[in-house]
Symmetry: C2
Subunit: 443 residues, 2 copies
């Protein structure tokens, strides 16, 4: 019997837990879940053979004991908590699976990880994860067929499913709200387009969108992620002319979001004096020029250079109640924290709402002297059992765990799913679970 | 005989050295100058009795020996180099004068400084320095006369004198170019206006200017400095309704400068790939959307939303040669470094050019129930011997040194010139040297 130790059973782990429990008899697994907030786990989700343990990750003795007794470890904790577990894994020679990005701290342990003969498999969620698996598979197929890949664009979005898309933003929080509010901050966006490097500062990012279309789901807009350039070497596409990774929203979202960026309302770097006693309207006015004779509405229109007849954008802002005298009621808060609380009131995902993950790749390549293009897309909607986020993050993590235990994945060291030994079996089992890409040749 | 030890003889210290040498016989001083780059000192400036010593500030033994043998220390080195000297001053119980801001590192030594019975007098240059001296003097006079100060705005600019103002920007580098390029970065601007807090993000800062007028010198535009709020407690004006500190430029400068901010060309946080082989034109194009069929000129106009007939702003940009195929020739450079090198070619202060320091205060107050307002301004131009920057930084530093040696200033601990015992004698001797404020009551 193989012992699987799962750290963290937060809200997007239901599909993972389900996968591990469904396969436990056939695979002869024993699942142990270590979680700080046991009371937050949905009891219906956990079957009788699964062991639930209350654990504060800071409790080193208990944590090490759990790792020592396991055969493989999965961490679904926030990324910053992984590193202590990785050190335990090195000490007790246990492999580990996470959906998080490879951190610099992790890279610093590369030699120890290799020497202990384990694999730390990262970035096997959805983004990063399914993006790598699906893109690298097609890239390698194209290269093996003799194609020269000239352009690669890829976008992913965590959105609300069409049936629940009932607000003017086409958006609700289906994932960590804070990440949405501060998205794009922390440095210029970098990519390469047709051989030309391009850099976009944060304050222009949300006006530099690209429209893409996904069959049956219509139009989306893409904004660039922070650093697309580093994926040239990760995907072995050093000489590619266009490399662009981005995030999807429904059209019109970004232009309206830009209003908050222009105001400075997404800033998370300073505390607002007197924040506790502000109203939403006063919060917006903090960022507008002083003039007691003008309305906040008109000052904002003027600030954003919005003509009287630009109704759609302005209605999105109004719908959030930002012009109302509603108390903020947050002490010593940053602008980003106040904005998040305003948004959470209106962008809340209701129990009956369904989320949706959309992924879209574009490959332009030359084969036998002919220019060709493939678009590849995947849409997963949530259902009554699992959110789309939970399925697309949990399934590849669960499958990876199985593949390592069964020695299908035999790599050692720090990996992400860009080797055919890893992405091929993952891709094929994801397909069995309904996570499919539709490929379309464009001529 | 009193021994004065001056660390640093960089380009803005000529007026300070001249002051110390002019007064040395009357005051019975011996001046020692410790400088790393002795060859950069203008020999004509140094008289026979002044001792010149070659010193790398890292040379702890030699540095401590010099401090131990002195009666007072002046540091005109870059601010980050002060702290080691301060520690020596504590050890050997020597007072010290600098024109730099009080740093957190310095504050951490407050107890040791007080216990050793010395004064570390900071912020006695021009800005900070003469701004404190002149403003606090008037503030205390007003308060002592029974006035209630409601608003205080203060602006300073290091500019080019009218006789040398011969380019479309009305600006040349009269001080550290790097500080000009990255000015305003590192966090939102904060101030209070009519009792309302106001925050401006960096990308909007240069469009939120205020026009002021100085007699005989015409109009200037002011942009806010980073944090005006903290000066409420420094000046003892906790309940003031408006507190705004800013920097002066000639009108039109900020709007044109904003073009670089909007592009992201002032970003100093990342290295541009391939920077060595770029031209000025290609550098600008890095920040513009990809479109090989449009000119960089038109793309920039469109990006900045500039109509065809907005000639003045566009001419400023063109005059900098940013659309030319001139090689950048800087390896591994940030956008800010490249922009600086482009600007230095055109904003260079020629030997015959004269600089100018402009300072302007506005006080609004209530006296006996009547609303009153005073504007106070100072303009100093450079001459053939000393730049305006050198005079306005060096003279208050030199005078402070004399006042401490002569025990006119008897304060101990960390100080800036906001106590009447410090600012009154400083103000009066600055006046003798032609550094005068013109006060005007506005009705």
């Amino acid at each position: 019997m193989k012992k699987i130790l799962l750290f963290g059973a937060g809200r997007s782990t239901s599909a993972l837990i389900n996968y591990l429990q469904t396969n436990k008899e056939k695979e002869n697994w024993q699942l142990t879940i270590a979680e700080k907030f046991l009371e937050s786990i949905d009891e219906k989700l956990i079957d009788a053979q699964t062991e639930l343990i209350s654990l504060d990750i800071q409790d080193e003795v208990k944590r090490k004991d759990l790792v020592a007794k396991s055969d493989i470890v999965i961490s679904m904790l926030p990324a910053r908590m992984h590193i202590d577990i990785v050190k335990d894994c090195i000490q007790f020679r246990k492999s580990m699976v996470t959906a998080s990005y490879v951190s610099d701290e992790l890279k610093a342990l590369e030699k120890e990880i290799e020497e202990s003969g384990i694999i730390i498999l990262n970035e096997v969620g959805v983004d990063p994860g399914i993006d790598h698996i699906s893109a690298k598979k097609l890239i390698d197929e194209l290269i093996n067929s003799g194609a020269e890949i000239e352009e690669f664009e890829t976008f992913t979005g965590g959105l609300v499913a069409p049936q629940s898309d009932n607000n003017p933003w086409g958006y609700k929080f289906t994932w960590n709200p804070r990440n949405v509010v501060v998205a794009g901050q922390g440095g210029a966006v970098k990519f390469i387009q047709e051989g030309t490097y391009k850099y976009i500062p944060y304050h222009k990012l949300f006006r530099r969108t690209e429209i893409i279309e996904v069959e049956k789901y219509g139009k989306f807009e893409g904004i660039a992620n922070r650093d697309s350039l580093k994926y040239r070497s990760i995907y072995g596409l050093e000489n590619i002319k266009t490399m662009y990774r981005g995030t999807l929203r429904r059209p019109g979202f970004c232009r309206a979001w830009d209003a908050f960026v222009q105001l400075g309302a997404t800033d998370d770097s300073f505390i607002i004096e007197n924040s506790k006693h502000l109203t939403y309207r006063e919060f917006i006015n903090l960022f507008l020029p002083y003039n007691p004779n003008d309305s906040v509405e008109l000052k904002l229109r003027h600030y954003l250079n919005l003509a009287q007849d630009e109704v759609e954008l302005f209605d999105k802002l109004k719908w959030l109640d930002i012009f109302e005298e509603i108390p903020v009621n947050l002490d010593r808060a940053t602008p980003a924290q106040i904005l998040q609380s305003i948004l959470e009131r209106k962008w809340k995902l209701e129990p009956e709402d369904r989320d949706m993950i959309v992924m879209w790749h574009r490959f332009a390549y030359k084969l036998n002297g002919i220019n060709k293009e493939i678009h590849s897309s995947m849409v997963i909607e949530g259902d009554e059992n699992h959110t789309a986020m939970s399925k697309t993050v949990g399934l590849p993590v669960g499958i990876s765990t199985k593949l390592i235990l069964n020695q299908v994945i035999r790599q050692k060291g720090i990996w992400i799913p860009i080797h055919p030994d890893i992405y091929l079996p993952l891709y094929s089992e994801l397909e069995e679970h309904g996570i499919n890409f539709i490929e379309k040749e464009i001529n």
